[in-house]
Amino acid sequence: MTVAPKREDYDVVVIGAGPAGLAAAATSAEAGLTSLLLDENIGPGGQVFRAISSTPVTERSQLGADYWVGADLVQSLRASNAEVIHRATVWSLDRNLDIAVSIGGASAFVKAKRVILATGALERPFPVPGWTLPGVMTAGAAQTMLKSSGLVPDGRTVIAGQGPLLWLLAAQILRLGGRIDRILDTTERGNYFAALPHAFAFLTSPYFTKGLSMMREVKAKVHVVSGVTELAAIGDGQLANVSYVAGGKRETISADLLLLHQGVVPNVNLAMSADVEHRWDDVQLCWSPVLDANGNSSVAGIAIAGDGAGIGGANAAGVRGRIAARAAVEALAPAAAAKLPAMATLRADLAKAERGRVFLDTLFRPSPQFRIPSGDTIVCRCEEVTAKDVLDSVAIGATGPNQLKAYRRTGMGPCQGRLCGLTVTELMAQARGKTPQEIGYYRLRAPVKPITLAELAAVPKSEADIKAVVRG
C-alpha cells in the first residue's frame, strides 16, 4: 500500500516517529497546524519504542514500564490531526525546506514552513577486530528483534561493551528465556572516579534505582567480567570465538553471537546534508548540532529534537519534541500556543529528564582503544577499509575525512559514513595531532539514503526541466 502525502505544503513536517517526533507532531497538530510526520519504520516508536503497536511480547513486565510509556505517545498522536506516513524515507532536505521522500518506490516532494528533525540516534561504531563477521551484531539489533519479532538469542551468546542499554537488553533477553553466556564490561575503571563529582544528580534521578535493580537482576544469572581492556571477534566466515583481556589476562571463549554496545550517538546525516552546523562534543565524543534553547538550528526553519540534538534519552526526547513544536506554533500561529503547556513548564520537565545524564556520559565514556582501532581492523564496513589503510593515506597527504574519500572511498558506500564517520574523524585527528573539530567530518549530500535511478527518472518533470538537459 502506497500512501503519498495529501498536500504539497505543510506548516510543520516532522521527520522520525520516535519519542521526539511523536510528541512534536502531536503538539503541532493539536495547535491546529497542518502537520506531516514521515517515518522510515513499519510502525511508530522509533528505536526505543520499536513495535509499540505490534510487538508479540504481550507480557508487559518483560519489556518494562519504560517501554509501554510509548503507547501513550502514539495514542496522543493518533488523537491529533497529524498526517502520518510510515515506510517513508526522506532522502533530501534543503535550506528552502523542500523535502524529497521515497514511499513505496516512488518519490514525493513536500514543502514545509518549519521542519523538526527527530532522526534520533544510532549505535556508536565498535570497531574491534572481526566486527564484520556474521554473528557479530549491535545490542540494539538484538533488542529490535526482541521487541518487534519476539526473537531471543539461543546459541552461545556474549554481550560486550558498556552503558545502560546493555543492561536493559540483557534483562529483557533473560526475561524472555533467551541465553546469555557472558557479559564483558568494557567500562574503564578510571571512569568511576571521573564520574564521582556528578554522582549526586544521578543518585537523585530515576535512572539510579532502575539501573541498579536491572544490573542486580542480570548479575544474578550471568557471569559478568568487568575491566575488559581488549576485545576481538574470531572466526572464518562466521563468528567462532570471542577473545578478550581483563585484568591483564587473556581469555578466549567460543560463541555463536556477539552483541556489541558502547552507547549511542546522534544520527547526523539528514541534518548535515541540509547544512546544519555541527560541533564536536568533547563529553559525548560525537558531532552534535548547534541549537538554541528551542532546538532551532543554524538553518532558518529547521529545528532538531530528540537524541539527534545530542544524546539525552527517551524522556528528554519527548520533551524536546514538545519544545520544538511549541516554538513552531509560537512562530506560525501565536494565538494557538496558548492551549499548549507553557514553555517554562516544558523547560522544567527537560531539566528533570536530563538529570543524571552527565554522570552516565562520564561513567560510560568509551575507551580510546575501542574507538580508535589499529592495524587490519576494518574501519569502513561498506568499502572494507582498515585502520592501516587510513593511516597510510594520512602519511601521503590525506588531511581529513572528506579528502580520505578520494584516497580510499571511506564513507562512500551505501551507509554513507554512518558506521565509520566517527572512527575516521578520531583516527585521523590522532594521527595528525589535531582535535576532531579541526579534522572535521564527511561532506554529506542528498540523497542521504540510496534510491534507484528509475525512481529519480520517474519524478515529474516540467517543460523547463527537460529543456535544460535536452539538446536542440
Binding site: T132, M137, G140, L257, E384, L419, T452
Partner: protein
C-alpha cells in the same frame, strides 16, 4: 542464533528464500525472518566477497542488503514480509537491471 518466544501468536507468512519456503510471522522484517529461519542467510560483499549478516537491524549499516521480488540492494531490515515474497541472497555485486 535466535529463536522465537512462545508468546508470539502472530499468524504465519510464507516467503521463499532462493526458492526454498520459509515460515515467517506477520510483522517480521525480511532480515528478522531470515535470522529466525536458521538457514544460511549470509550475503557476500561487492568489494571483497566477504560474508556478512545484518549488523544494526535499524536501517543504518546496509549489511542486510538483499534482493526482494527482483529488486536488488533492498534493506531487508526495513521491509516487512508478505505472503509469497521472493528473497534472493546477494552473492557479490548486483547485476545491471536488478
Amino acid at each position: 542464533m535466535f529463536r522465537r518466544s512462545e508468546q508470539d501468536k502472530r499468524p504465519q507468512v510464507q516467503i521463499f528464500v532462493d526458492g526454498v519456503a520459509v515460515a515467517a510471522r506477520q510483522g517480521d522484517t525480511v532480515s528478522a525472518a531470515l535470522l529466525a529461519s536458521g538457514q544460511d542467510a549470509r550475503r557476500f560483499t561487492a568489494v571483497s566477497g566477504a560474508p556478512r549478516l545484518p549488523y544494526c537491524m535499524m536501517g543504518v549499516c546496509f549489511d542486510c542488503l538483499v534482493t526482494i521480488d527482483g529488486v536488488g540492494n533492498r534493506q531487508g531490515c526495513l521491509v516487512p514480509v508478505a505472503e509469497g515474497m521472493q528473497i534472493e541472497i546477494q552473492k557479490g555485486k548486483r547485476e545491471i537491471g536488478r
